[in-house]
Amino acid sequence: MTADTPRPTPALDPAGRPTLPRGVRLKHDELRGGWVLLAPERLLKLDAVSVEVLKRCTGEASLDAIVDDLAAAFAAPRERIAADVDAMLGGLVAKRLVDMR
C-alpha cells in the first residue's frame, strides 16, 4: 500500500473490538522464520505490520485503541495507520478470518 493509492472508505466500526475467531491462529514459524495466520485450509504469511496489528486483536481493545497504540509504537501519523489497519482488517473480516465484537 502506498500513500497515493485511493483508499476505500473505512469499513470497520472504530469502537468495534477485533478478535481472531476460534479456528484462526497466529503462529510463529520456527523453521522458516516470520509469522503466519493459520485458518481453515488457509495459511497466510504475514508482514511485520500485519503481525503487530493481529497481536493486538484480542477482543478486548477497540479498533480505535489499537490504532492509537500502533501510532505511538511506530511514531507514525495516526491517520495513515488508521487507513492501513482498516484496509488490512477489513480484508480479513471479509474473509471471515477476523470477527468484530
Binding site: V24, K27, L31, R32, L38, E41, L43, R96
Partner: protein, 378 residues
Amino acid sequence: MSAPAPVPPPSLPAPIGLLAELTHRCPLGCPYCSNPLELDGREGELGTDDWRRVFSQAAALGVMQVHLSGGEPAARRDLVDMVAHCAAVGLYTNLITSGIGLTPKLVAALSEAGLDHVQLSIQDADEDSADRIAGYRGASARKREVAAEVVRAGLPLTVNAVIHRANVSRAGAVLERAIAWGARRVEIAHAQYYGWARRNRAALMPTRAEAVAAIGEIERLKAAHAGTIVVDHVIPDYHARYPKACMGGWGRRLINVTPTGRVLPCHAAESIPGLEFWTVRDRALGDIWADSPAFRAYRGTDWMVEPCRSCPRKGVDFGGCRCQALALTGDARNADPVCHLSPFHDRVDTIVLAETEGPAAAYAYRGRSPADASIDRS
C-alpha cells in the same frame, strides 16, 4: 526411538501440510470417493503411537496444518488422543469427516482436546438424494445434527460437497444449506476422477452445460454472500485452459500418509506404477520427504518433457497432475492433458462428451460388492 528429524538441505522446501488418512474404514459408500479401489483393512493400520511419532516428526519438519481424514476418521477410537497430541506439538488440526460416528460426546471431547476446525461433507441438498449417493439411509438427518453440535461446541464449521451428475443442479442449494447451518466456510468441489470416482466416472460426469450452469450459479452466490460465508469453489479442470498446480507442486508443500503408513506425494500417487513408496514404520518422515524415490520422481521441473520443459509456466503449475497425465496419455511425465498446449488435449473432450451421453450408469458403491446396492444399512 524417535530421533530428532534431520535438517533438510537448503534447496529442499519444507512441507506445510500433512494429510493423515487415519483409516479407510467408513460406513458410507460414496461412489465419488477418492480413496483407492484397494482399501486398507483395519489389521494393517498404524497404531496410536505410530501416528503420534508421525505428527511430532511432521511438526519438526515444518508442517503447520494436519488434516485428519480417511475413510472416516471418527471410526478411530483414538481420535481424541491424536488431536490432543497434535495440539501439544503446535499443529493446527482440521477434521475432515462425513459426520457419521461423531457423537455429541465425541464432538465435545475433540473440542476440549484442542481441535481447530471441522469440515463436514454432505452429498446433496436434497436429503433423499443425498442418502442414495452416500448409500446409507438416514445419513443426511444425522449430518444435520452433527453440524448443530459442532456449532454449539464453538468449533468453526466448513460444509463440503462434491459435485457430480446427481447433484449438479442443486449446487446453489448446498451453499444455502451451509449458510443455514451456521458454517463460516463452504467448499463446493466438482468431483476429481481418482479412485472410486474413476471407476464411477460414467455415472458421475455431468454434461458440460450442467457444469457450466452450476459454476455460474456458485459464482453469483459467492458474490452475493461475501462476508457471510467464504466460498471455496473447486471447478472441474476438464473445462479449464491450464491445469492446476496439483498439490502445489509434487513434493513441495504436502505429504500424505495412508492408513498403513505409506507416505505419498499425493493421495492418488499409488495409481502411478513403478513408484517406490517408503513407510513411516521403517523411516523418519524427514528422510522420506527428502529421499524417498516417490518424492524425488517428480519434484521440481528436471523430469519434464515437452511441452512443459520449455514452457514459461512450468514453475507455476508444475505441469499439472501426474495421475491425470498418466491416465489420459499413458505417461505421467507428459503435460496434464487439461492444458491446451498438450498434444493429447483432445482426449479430455472425447471423454467428457462420450461419458455424458445417455442415461447414467449404476453406482459401484465404495468398498461394497456390486450386488450390494441397498442403502438400508444395519
